[in-house]
Homo-oligomer: 305 residues x 2
């Protein structure tokens, strides 16, 4: 398992003790990302055993209360627990003002630094990049500016050389770097060995796309095509299509249609309306269109591989 | 049962899924009061089956996050559920600014009116009064301005007359009102019947005092003397007395000392530090000083009678 997604909350605006509002933890390639931070997120983090200190990056999709109201309590707890490490928060520009205003009341002295990264624009944009992965925004279609996030493992710069070939062909050290960069190898006898015979086929890169909240929006299909895991909101059952349109949310079938068009490996649906008593009914509706789908629940851990 | 206190959260600043931070519901004499509103209060209200629509009064003791951060989500949910009734919020003056600022983001149009009642002053003050009860502030001793609340049933204006006496003495209607107001009755034969022979002894009035957060403060003893129920914070065990002093909190023994000096009927302790694994240890410490004590837990309902 190279990564996992832990669901901390999967309800829409009205949380219950069984289904908190949106928050998830993505563990991927050695990093931990908290995606959205509804009321009670700190409680769920404890319940589902995610260490507070593992979180250095928090991404907020949009400024509806059910996606960010747990942030203030979490920051306050970080501080009480003596956090010193810088925390990165990605979200709409107004989030900085919101947090700063609250912190005035919560704690006089924050022991750690917060770096705010404002998310804007109508086109996808890379908001995080390290050696192993990038995070790109997915502009969604909601009542206020809202972004999904596409986490994508980078292709390694260098190929992996087949160790047995080094011995077999007696390849000198200075040539190895060139081969790793993609060059063929010419033996002392002048025989050209093509690079693909010398190197392992490149590994598939991991990818996860988070899309909540959004009306049905085919524009995102190209961007999320082929991802290992797509989380797409499915607030309403199909019979409430009109309500979904009116509130800029999606139905289970609409989520499945996006997953199908984008040919993703696995679709996870969530962000259920409070009137949904059994999310399996949504899963069933989605399955009619896209086979590989799961309706998430709080505490569910989905492996990423 | 003329009233009850439901504990929604009993931890101090770091909530867990077993122990949320401070919030309680007092049902008393036909009214429902939400006292403090930590993160997750709306979740606990649903879990412990308190109807959202029953709440018209919310009292906030002070502006530390673990006592008010659930307010924004609750207001947002009230709105989503179509609340129309005016909501009364009592708390430090800055609370109005805090709520107004958040509401700008959460919901463009609030469907109901909020009336803010600013709590100030160093002396007890009545902040609510109706026909049957009053709520008085209890100025506490904490790092920032903090108030407890004393809920007290009013004495009835009129006494209850013994029905059998009306028949026995053939008391005319016009005299009944006077007797209810405390007058003696003189029979046609000139015999004076003292009022106490004609009326029932006045019923005891219900009372509840909420005191969190506070350092040990004997000043409150007089005000809470004889209450039916005193909730007093007991953040720390006795061995952490120094830490309690430093943070302006109380130990279990200090809470019990106040209860003992005030001769209350029942002491409930809560607001536990995150390091307390079993609140019974605090209860045991308190019992050494004051016998009638319970350590509360989330979901506990304490009858008031």
């Amino acid at each position: 398992m190279q990564g996992s997604l832990t669901i901390l909350g999967c309800n829409s605006a009205l949380p219950t003790s069984e289904r908190f509002s949106t928050a998830q933890v993505l563990q991927m390639l050695g990093r931990v990302f908290l995606i959205d931070c509804a009321e009670g997120t700190q409680i769920q983090l404890r319940k589902f055993k995610v260490r507070f200190t593992s979180i250095d990056h928090i991404l907020i999709s949009h400024l509806h209360g059910d996606h960010y109201l747990g942030l203030f309590g979490l920051l306050s707890s970080f501080n009480l627990l003596g956090r010193k490490k810088t925390l990165n928060i990605y979200g709409p520009p107004e989030l900085k003002e919101l947090v700063t205003f609250q912190l005035k009341y919560i704690e006089a002295n924050l022991l750690f630094k917060i770096e705010f990264h404002a998310i804007t624009g109508k086109e996808p944009r890379i908001i995080f990049e390290d050696k192993r992965l990038t995070i790109e925004t997915i502009p969604l279609k909601h009542r206020i500016p809202t972004y999904g996030f596409l986490f994508r493992e980078k292709k390694p710069e260098w190929l992996n050389i087949k160790k047995e070939k080094i011995a077999e062909l007696n390849i000198p050290l200075r040539e190895i770097v060139n081969i790793k960069k993609g060059a063929d190898y010419t033996t002392d006898e002048g025989v050209v060995i093509p690079n693909q015979e010398l190197t392992l086929p490149p590994k598939k890169q991991l990818s996860y796309a988070f899309c909540s909240d959004t009306a049905y929006n085919e524009k995102i299909v190209e961007q999320v095509t082929g991802v290992d895991l797509l989380y797409h909101e499915a607030t309403f059952p199909d019979e409430l299509l009109a309500r979904a349109k009116e509130t800029f949310h999606s139905t289970a079938s609409q989520a499945a249609t996006i997953a199908s068009k984008a040919n993703v490996k696995l679709l996870a649906i969530g962000h259920y309306s409070a009137r949904i008593t059994n999310p399996r009914t949504l899963e069933k509706e989605a399955k009619e269109i896209f086979e590989n789908v799961i309706a998430v629940h709080d505490g569910m851990v989905i492996p990423l591989s």
